[in-house]
Each structure stands twice: as structure tokens, then as C-alpha cells.
């Protein structure tokens, strides 16, 4: 679905600029904030569409946060939107990391600094767990998908590269769905999708 008024580039840039400083530990931690901002507050996208977009961002090569900005920006405002969102998501962490490194010698040995960062890590873990739940709820539709999840987890734990998991997942998706009459659709928005099948084209 396409929203009536596309957000201005500046607003898109600003939105991702604000989100970037909380993307500790890779990009997954911004998903909850992204959902609040884009679905709840600005209502630029439906929740379902955002979850699809974010799972694509997680599977594409590169940093998850940057990919999320790229895909969301593109869906909302085409290529210009993608560039605006991307710049917004990269700039703050770029300056933060340079500044931190420049002052590292002064803060490195402060135990309080370490403790604060250790605390933040656990907060970030909560945010990422929440993201996993949001995508997992949509992903696990039946026994096959549950099996894929467990197999991928085992693969990652024994040190396989995520690339294989992603390739295997796509292959499995294409193969297993041949044997199913119809892919189980999400019950919540099945009718909405059928009404407006064009929404996928705006990924």
C-alpha cells in the first residue's frame, strides 16, 4: 500500500538520524523504535509491511540498520528517500565512533564507563529479543518453518556462515511451498493483501 502523502526527504532523514544513536550492537535494536516511529506515530506504513521490509533488511548483505534505512526509505520515497534515510542512519554513529576513539585513552580505564556500557548491552538485548519476537510471530506459521528456525539456530551455533542459512532458507521456501496447496497466509491481513496486491511492488 502506498500512503497518500509521501514524507518529505528531510523528515525521513531526521527520523533515521534520531534512531541511529540507539543502534547498539548491530541494527536489530532499532526495530522497536522504528516501529513506534513509522507505524504508530507517523503512520507511514502498516505494521505488516514494516515487518516484511525489516526481515528483508536482515537477510540482505551489510549492516542491518543501514539496510533497514535503505529499504524503508525506498518504500516511502523512492531512491531519494533511500539515500536520505541511509545518510541519516550512518552519520550519527560515524561521528560518535570517531569522537569515542579520539577520547578513548581518557575513558578506557574508568570502571563506571564499562559498567554503564555493560548495562546498556542488556537493554539492547531486550530490544533485540523483542524484534525477534515480532518477526518470529510472523515467520513461524507451521512445523516446516519451526524446523527451519531450529535448523538455522543449530547451524549458527556450530559456526556456519549466515550466508548459507539465508540461501538454504530461500531454497527451502521455494521447494516446500510446492507441496503445499497454498502458503498459509497471515490471518490478520490476508484480506488486506488480497485487496491490494500491489503493495509488494513498493518494497
Amino acid at each position: 500500500m502506498k500512503q497518500d502523502t509521501a514524507p518529505t526527504l528531510l523528515l525521513l532523514f531526521w527520523t533515521f538520524l534520531k534512531l541511529s544513536p540507539i543502534s547498539f550492537g548491530g541494527g536489530y535494536a532499532i526495530f522497536p523504535a522504528l516501529e513506534r516511529e513509522i507505524v504508530d506515530k507517523r503512520q507511514w506504513m502498516k505494521s505488516e509491511t514494516l515487518v516484511d521490509t525489516l526481515s528483508l533488511a536482515s537477510a540482505a548483505p551489510g549492516g542491518v540498520g543501514v539496510n533497514a534505512a535503505l529499504l524503508v526509505g525506498y518504500r516511502l520515497n523512492g531512491w531519494q528517500g533511500a539515500v536520505a534515510a541511509c545518510c541519516g542512519s550512518i552519520l550519527p554513529s560515524f561521528f560518535i565512533v570517531i569522537a569515542l576513539f579520539a577520547f578513548y585513552s581518557k575513558i578506557a580505564d574508568a570502571p563506571k564507563t564499562e559498567a554503564v556500557l555493560a548495562g546498556i548491552t542488556w537493554g539492547v538485548i531486550t530490544l533485540i529479543l523483542f524484534s525477534a519476537l515480532r518477526i518470529g510471530k510472523k515467520a513461524i506459521k507451521d512445523k516446516t518453518t519451526l524446523f527451519l528456525l531450529l535448523a538455522a539456530l543449530i547451524g549458527l551455533f556450530i559456526g556456519l556462515s549466515p550466508v548459507y542459512g539465508i540461501a538454504a532458507g530461500i531454497a527451502a521456501g521455494l521447494i516446500f511451498t510446492i507441496f503445499k496447496k497454498n502458503v498459509p497466509e497471515e490471518t490478520t491481513n490476508a484480506s488486506a493483501v488480497r485487496e491490494d496486491p500491489s503493495y509488494m511492488y513498493f518494497i
Binding site: S58, A59, A60, P61, T126, T177
Partner: protein, 177 residues
Amino acid sequence: MWSMFLFFLKLGFLSFGGGYALIPLIEQEAAKRQWMSHDAFLDAVGVAGMSPGPVAVNLSSIIGYQTNGIGGAIAALVGLVLPSVLVTALLLIVIFRLRKKAFIDRVFYGLQPIVTALILFAVYRLGLGSLENTRMSGQLLVGIFIVGVCWIMLVRYRMHPLFILLFSAICGAAFLA
């Protein structure tokens, strides 16, 4: 600076899922080309990990900054980010051109469980990474406490993620020092 840009450009094609896998490759190259000492590199990895944003991207900015100033930082960053942005953009065009919703649904059917596993694994890696040294069990307890309270704040009271981070930072300063 040009060779550094090219090096990160090459790495950029390998950076799936945040790029923890790139760190050993960057370390080898940094040692070979004498960009920085081993100790400085470990510091750089520490700073890259504690800063927001993908670790590999942060690390490339630091190395660029250390060797060639702010211009070098920008060159390294663009080198690392550009390939994945282009590949992602290419992916977009392919999906855009396909215009077959049934096909996309089938890809997503298999892909989403894998993505869920990737995210869960990121949780495990982050949690393990923050548990070092000898006081492991104590830290784990505090960690579980923080996660529990944050979960309630996030799910039950729908508080902004910024408050979650603020709360966990305060808890860290109070209990983990």
C-alpha cells in the same frame, strides 16, 4: 588511502549480517600494511563494539581516521558500505521487476524463520560478549534482571526504547561497577 578504500570495498561484498566475520580479516590486513599496532587494533575493536552502528563499519571508520584523518575515515566507511548498499539495491530491483507476489511469498516463507534465527543468535552473542571475567554468575543475574524489567517496560507499558537504554545504563552503573 586509495588502496585502503579498495580493501574495504572488497570487504564490503562479504559483510553479511553486521560483519562480525570481517574483524579477523581486517586484523590481518591492518597487521600486514602496518595501519596500527595490535594493541591499538584491540582498542579500536572495543570502541567499535561499544558505539552504535554495525561493528565492522565502525571499525573501518576508526582505521581510516587513524591512518588518514577524517578523509580516510570517510573513504573507509564509503568503501565498506557501498557494496552492500548496491547489492541490496540490486535485490530491490530484482524483486521490483519480478512482480509476482506468490513467488515473493514463497521466498519469505523460508527466509523469515532464518532471519528470526539470525536475530536470536545476535542476542546470544551479545549476552556472551558482555559476560567476561570472573564475576560471571553475578553479572548474569543482573543481566537477567535488567532484561526482565526492560521487557515489562517495553511490552506492557510500551515505553520508548530510549528509556529502556537509559534504565539499563543506570542499572549498569549501579550494579555492574
